[in-house]
């Protein structure tokens, strides 16, 4: 709690012939966070094992097949014979079987899209009595086909007549636009084009049907038949592919996983430093696992390797593995979402654990809503094991919501017991309470910041940069209290505190720091949202209840509508409430709280062998 696992840096070195054994053992141990070596004048990076190329070749095939057969990774159980040769031969066989289908499918799709394009063109020509073979290349004649608006047709005829009278214009008039085919002397092609443009002509290209002859209607029927035939063929092909996918799904997923693991091992030397006959691995191991790991590595390599280890030094970039008790652990999710705290600073997960559910509870604060969300997240947790951490947080927050629901005496917006504080009627009490919570929370942040600075930059800097804020708050509080006549001291004392704090700030954080004073004020005022979000949720609930009551009073059929209003209204309000409470509670931590102390930016501890 509060600080991550202690880490030691480890350097493992040995002769090349034990490299594979060491890699295998490291992969089993899942303990070493490898720091990648970058090439320098002393040592190059290692070469991947010989099997790497073959492995990645099979993997590419497997993944391509999974993509084209539409197989998604899931938890399908499959007993894979973990032998490379056998996996390879099955993949090869499957690739031939499915590969043909895939090729054929691609070809069919191509034909289909060509046929559809043809159909479109024929359909346009359907009403025009010109045999299709007439639309070919001529030397003396050129033609235009396309659409213009109906009312432009007379205008177009006029324009063309002005150019020449050696032309033929076919048209078929539909609702708004007409399809026209204009044949004209090739000499006048350019002028005709201009006239058409003036009439707002849009060309239809007939390039797809140049091989067809005869009249359009017959061709249309033929094309339609063809398309149907192709579609049927495609359907049966799809079915057989689906069957194949079903049959081999387990095998493909399992072998993808197996081979990925093998490949990770085979490519591991790329992260090592290597010389002609030896290798060197740098990395980090948690202190409590150190002696056990070294023992097992020595055993695996028959004592042919040398392991050097030492605790982390001040400026090392240590990968961070957070350490928290089981109840607090889910809240590490919020750290992953934001930024992993650095090795030396205080891990704020525990503080989020303390305050996040409380903030959430104050904002949602309703026994009914809490119970609904509790049931919802409980159910979701069983359905979605991957989001377990996230849902555990919400389940805990739902419990606290019920607790605050009792304090506020609310059940679906109705006061069911005498409330300790009524959110609906005692707005100001709650507002002051929210601000007070804000002051406490921000100051906890400042204290954590003080400790962080103390550890990293020494006492004086910690006082200048962090304690000065607290002195500033004291000064402002004194000034305010004397102004309102609550305490009888000279205002000079308050001003002195304020001045001293400002000077310390300038020394600690530079000349820009005093501007942040306003920021502090807005940070604290920002906690007013604890009351504001809650208030809006209550008012909405009350409105829903009141409008449902109106329906109930009218009796008969309206009772049903009233029930519907209650269900839909509260469902929407719960959704809004959950989203708002979650985001705003999170934001109070990330923005108002973290800005007082948090640095973050560390790399997460990810030992070799746990990559997904």
């Amino acid at each position: 709690m509060l600080s991550p696992h202690k880490m030691s840096s480890a350097i493992i070195t040995g002769p090349n012939h034990v490299q594979e054994a060491v890699i295998r053992e490291l992969h089993n141990l899942k303990i070493l966070h490898i720091v990648e070596h970058s090439k320098n004048e002393l040592a190059d990076i290692g070469k991947p094992m010989e099997s790497a190329a073959r492995l990645s070749e099979i993997l590419v095939k497997i993944r391509a097949m999974m993509a084209s057969l539409g197989i998604k990774k899931d938890e399908t159980k499959f007993e894979l014979k973990r032998s490379l040769a056998e996996t390879e031969s099955t993949v090869k066989k499957l690739n031939e079987e499915a590969g043909m289908g895939i090729e054929e499918l691609k070809e069919l799709d191509e034909q289909l899209s060509k046929m559809r394009a043809m159909r479109q063109e024929i359909e346009a020509l359907k009403e025009i009595n010109v045999p299709l073979e007439n639309f070919t290349q001529y030397r003396e004649l050129s033609y235009f086909t396309g659409y213009i608006k109906n009312k432009k047709l007379p205008f177009l005829k006029q324009e063309i007549q002005r150019i020449t009278d050696r032309f033929m214009l076919f048209d078929s008039i539909a609702k708004k636009k007409a399809f026209i085919a204009l044949f004209i002397d090739a000499k006048h092609q350019e002028k005709a084009g201009e006239a058409l443009q003036k009439a707002g002509f849009s060309t239809v290209n007939l390039s797809n049907i140049s091989s067809l002859r005869g009249n359009a209607a017959a061709n249309l029927k033929k094309t339609n038949d063809e398309i149907e035939k192709l579609q049927n063929k495609r359907k049966s092909l799809m079915k057989s592919q689906e069957k194949l996918a079903k049959e081999y799904k387990g095998f493909l997923i399992a072998s993808d996983k197996f081979l990925s693991e093998q490949l990770e091992k085979a490519e591991a030397p790329l992260k090592f430093a290597s010389t002609q006959s030896s290798f060197l691995i740098k990395g980090w191991i948690p202190d409590d696992q150190l002696s056990r790991s070294i023992e097992r590595l020595n055993k695996a390599s028959r004592n042919k390797i040398f392991v050097h280890f030492e605790p982390a030094k001040k400026h090392d970039k240590v990968p961070v593995k957070l350490k928290n008790p089981k109840l607090v652990k889910p809240f590490e999710f919020f750290m992953d979402l934001y930024s992993v705290p650095s090795y030396k600073e205080i891990d704020p997960t525990f503080f989020i654990f303390l305050t996040f559910p409380i903030f959430f509870g104050i904002m949602l604060g309703d026994v009914g809503y809490g119970a609904v969300s509790l049931a919802l997240f409980w159910m979701l947790r069983r359905k979605m094991p991957k989001a377990k951490n996230f849902l555990n947080i919400l389940i805990l927050a739902s419990f606290v919501t019920i607790l605050f629901g009792i304090i506020f005496g609310e059940f679906f917006g109705k006061e069911f017991i005498n409330p300790m504080i009524s959110r609906e009627h005692e707005m100001f009490t709650l507002l002051y309470l929210a601000i007070a919570i804000g002051i406490v929370h921000v100051n906890i942040g400042l204290v954590i910041g003080f400790i962080n600075e103390l550890k990293s930059h020494g006492l004086m800097h910690a006082i200048y940069a962090k304690a000065s804020w607290i002195i500033l708050e004291v000064g402002v509080a004194m000034l305010a209290l004397t102004y309102f006549g609550k305490i009888a001291i000279s205002p000079i004392l308050g001003a002195a505190f304020l001045g001293a704090a400002l000077l310390m700030l300038i020394k600690g954080e530079g000349f820009i720091a005093p501007i942040e004073v306003l920021g502090l004020l807005s940070n604290i005022l920002s906690y007013a949202r604890l009351m504001a979000i809650g208030l809006s949720s209550v008012i909405l609930a009350v409105i829903i209840n009141d409008s449902a009551k109106e329906f109930f009073h009218q009796g008969g059929f309206f009772v049903l509508i009233g029930i519907l209003v209650l269900i839909i209204g509260h469902a929407i309000n719960i959704m809004l409430g959950l989203l708002g409470s979650f985001l705003h509670s999170l934001r109070l931590h990330y923005v108002e709280f973290f800005s007082k102390f948090f640095h973050g930016g560390a790399k997460k501890y990810q030992p070799f062998g746990t990559m997904e």
């Binding site: 934001y338 707005m427 507002l431 005022l525 208030l535 705003h584 934001r587």
Partner: protein
């Protein structure tokens, strides 16, 4: 129900306080949100930071609400 015009004006004032601050926050959030989604498309880990940056202007509405409530309180006093 006859209401004095002064009460009506107070209600209007508090409505303006929250409405205008909400518009201001929306304008600010619109641009930040678009940029945050853009950044996330490049690098998915930025979700946390994007979320935070997007909700920062939300404070404006909270201030608006507090002011609105304070104004409404004037109406009670009057």
């Amino acid at each position: 129900m006859a209401v004095e015009i002064s009460t009506g004006l107070i209600a209007l004032g508090s409505g303006l306080a929250i409405g205008l601050s909400a518009i201001a926050a929306a304008i600010a959030e619109k641009e930040i949100g678009a940029a945050a989604v853009g950044a996330m498309a490049e690098k998915e880990e930025l979700f946390g930071k994007g979320l935070i940056l997007t909700v920062i202007p939300e404070t404006l509405v909270i201030f608006g609400l507090v002011v609105a409530i304070l104004i409404l309180n004037l109406a009670k006093g009057a």
